[in-house]
């Protein structure tokens, strides 16, 4: 099967105060459709950096990146924006919803940039909100929702353009354990029932236990990469 993501010898060097930090020191990873990958590792091991490069929010210093078989290293800003819009769905630790904007409008936003007509935008957004169990919150503002509810809005937003890959960076980092558990169950369900491909970054083994594959980072390198049977459910 054609991988969604294939990276080879990926390196990222940050220059900071005249010092250079090797955040990624040669990463080789493939992700195929239908996978649920957890990237785990201690703090500062390069997990987020890796996720941002995979999601085309940032560029690698060197290395090859094939997205759905296509080399994306030469693309310009507009093309990268279009790919982020149509092929990725992002879920952040801090939800990143637009303030003073209803849940429904937040979920619709990626479709505004995709040029989806308004009526269709509304019906797709409502469908995805139904799917993650927050249809009743459509008119709520972010400050009227719990953390778990806001993160579900963000997940619905990540789903609306039918992305090839959902990227989630510490999505439970700001949640209490009960909400965290519910959000992780939702990810597992989306992967299991809807065949959605997910890559999730975390430093907590409890969270990683929901995934089907575990990639462990240390000092910018992959130190282990193994399938696992889901231990949490």
């Amino acid at each position: 099967m054609q991988p969604v993501v294939e990276v080879r010898a990926l390196e990222k060097i940050y220059a900071l105060d005249g010092q250079s930090i090797l955040a990624l020191a040669g990463i080789d990873v493939e992700i195929v459709p239908g996978e649920f990958v957890a990237v785990i590792g201690p703090s500062a091991s390069g997990k987020s950096t890796f996720m941002h490069i995979v999601g085309m929010l940032d560029v690698p210093t060197t290395g090859r990146y094939l997205l759905e078989g296509r080399d994306v290293s030469e693309l310009d800003g507009d093309a990268r924006a279009d790919i982020r819009n149509r092929r990725f769905g992002f879920v952040f630790q801090s939800y990143n919803l637009l303030p003073r904007t209803s849940a429904l409008e937040n979920v619709e936003l990626p479709m505004v940039y995709a040029g989806v007509p308004e009526a269709r935008r509304r019906s797709i957004a409502l469908e995805k909100m139904e799917m993650v169990g927050i249809a009743q919150l459509r008119d709520h503002y972010p400050n009227q929702m719990s953390g778990g509810q806001q993160q579900r809005v963000a997940i619905a937003r990540a789903l609306v353009n039918d992305p090839g890959l959902i990227l989630a960076d510490e999505p439970t980092g700001a949640l209490d354990s009960k909400s965290a558990d519910e959000v992780m169950r939702l990810f597992a369900d989306l992967n299991e029932k809807n065949g959605i491909t997910i890559m999730l970054v975390t430093h907590e083994p409890d969270v990683a236990a929901f995934a089907k594959r575990l990639v462990t980072f240390r000092d910018g390198r992959v130190v282990s990469d193994a399938q696992q049977t889901r231990t949490a459910a």
């Binding site: 999601g55 929010l57 940032d58 800003g77 279009d82 819009n85 990143n96 637009l98 303030p99 003073r100």
Partner: protein
């Protein structure tokens, strides 16, 4: 993404940040309105000074008593009582002089029925309407016979008509009291307008100068002589003749200083226009300061929200917005705010100007150039500070924008 979708996005963003939008607009409104009001007052003052000078004509010369020295302290011009009506007759006989009127000026209370009004009473000769090019509106003017008899007749300016006869009745033939002395109204003057801020030329009563001297001031001297030269090219020559004549009549020998001064209207005009220029310069300074204050207000509001906006831009880029689309949205927001603020500012400025001319009775001229300049400046400030941070943010990678602090 098309223009309508961009406008919708911008509109939604503006409504989402109502207080920021209002504060930004307020900066534009204050700047524009302040400029319009101040410039309108300055331009109005200058226009009315120019109008007054034009209405007086370029042939006019004014002879005033000079300063008096008393114990080393010199009074200002007009302080001395040295000019007489006989001086006026002698001046009238000079070649190149078309007409002369003495003026005897006194502030007095006028009463008609149950109305009363404090005004400036001017004792003048029949030549006054000619010298001042000031036509009558109704009735007749003061005659030579009135002067000879020191008749108790009066001609009213329009402001006095309105205040003494507010119900619109014709004042002709009515009796009024000036400082308690009864006068009969024989005529009214056409409206002349203001000669400067707060100087209403129509707020006057004209009486024969002999009547003013005998019945109101009790003096035999006059306040000034208004002289009309036959030709505007002879004004300087006539000025010299008058000086020589009056020096003889007053027995003044050099190095004694003259006890009078002759001013021609060109020098009055020059003085007036230079005062006008100073005033306009000051007002323009005030206007510039309020524009800058408005601009700084806009700048502060915009800069305070840069962090929030940069993160918002990062998020929008992560969700797939192209940099151009975001910039277009932010530019549209800035233009919408500046345009709305500019339009409201123009309305507020015009309303304020009208209010000033109604309440303070100042002449105002609403200046198109002032409107354009202030709107352009505020719009530029609004657009620059709305757009520039957005442009900077759009040049960041999405992740750097998202994490901006």
């Amino acid at each position: 993404m098309n223009a309508r979708a961009t406008m919708a996005l911008a509109m939604r963003a503006l409504l989402r940040n109502r207080s920021r939008s209002l504060l930004t607009m307020l900066g534009v409104i204050i700047g524009v309105a302040a400029v319009i009001v101040t410039v309108a007052i300055g331009a109005g003052a200058r226009a009315s000074v120019q109008q007054r000078i034009a209405s007086l004509g370029s042939n006019l010369l004014i002879v005033q008593p000079g300063s008096v020295t008393a114990g080393g302290a010199r009074s200002g011009a007009g302080g001395a009582s040295t000019l007489t009506a006989q001086d006026g007759m002698a001046v009238a006989a000079l070649p190149g002089v078309a007409a002369v009127t003495p003026t005897v000026t006194v502030r007095a209370q006028a009463v008609a029925g149950n109305q009363n009004w404090q005004t400036l009473v001017n004792g003048v000769a029949p030549t006054y309407t000619f010298v001042r090019s000031w036509p009558l509106a109704s009735g007749r003017f003061i005659s030579q016979d009135d002067v000879a008899r020191a008749a108790k007749v009066a001609v009213l300016g329009q402001t006095v008509v309105q205040n003494l006869f507010p119900n619109g009745a014709s004042p002709l033939g009515q009796n009024i009291l000036i400082s308690g002395v009864p006068f009969t109204v024989v005529g009214t003057l056409t409206p002349m307008g203001q000669s400067g801020p707060g100087q209403d030329q129509d707020d006057t009563i004209l009486v024969p100068y002999t009547s003013a001297m005998e019945r109101l001031t009790g003096q035999t001297t006059v306040s000034a002589l208004d002289v009309s030269a036959t030709n505007s090219t002879q004004v300087t020559a006539v000025q010299t003749e008058i000086t020589t004549l009056l020096e003889q009549r007053h027995r003044i020998v050099a190095p004694q200083p003259d006890d009078f001064q002759v001013r021609n209207l060109q020098s009055v005009a020059a003085a007036a226009s230079s005062t006008g220029a100073v005033m306009e310069f000051l007002l323009a300074g005030v206007a510039a300061v309020s524009l800058i204050v408005g601009g700084i207000g806009i700048m502060n509001i915009m800069l305070v929200s840069v962090t929030e906006r940069t993160r918002e831009i990062g998020l929008r880029m992560a969700l797939g917005a192209r940099a151009k689309t975001i910039l277009r949205q932010f530019l549209t927001e800035a233009v919408m705010l500046s345009t709305a603020g500019g339009a409201i500012g123009i309305c507020v400025g015009i309303a304020g100007t009208v209010l000033v001319s109604l309440l303070a009775k100042w002449a105002t001229v609403i200046p198109l150039s002032g409107i354009l300049a202030s709107v352009a400046f505020s719009a530029l400030v609004g657009i620059f500070f709305g757009y520039y941070p957005a442009r900077k943010a759009s040049l960041l990678s999405p992740i750097d924008a998202l994490r901006f602090e």
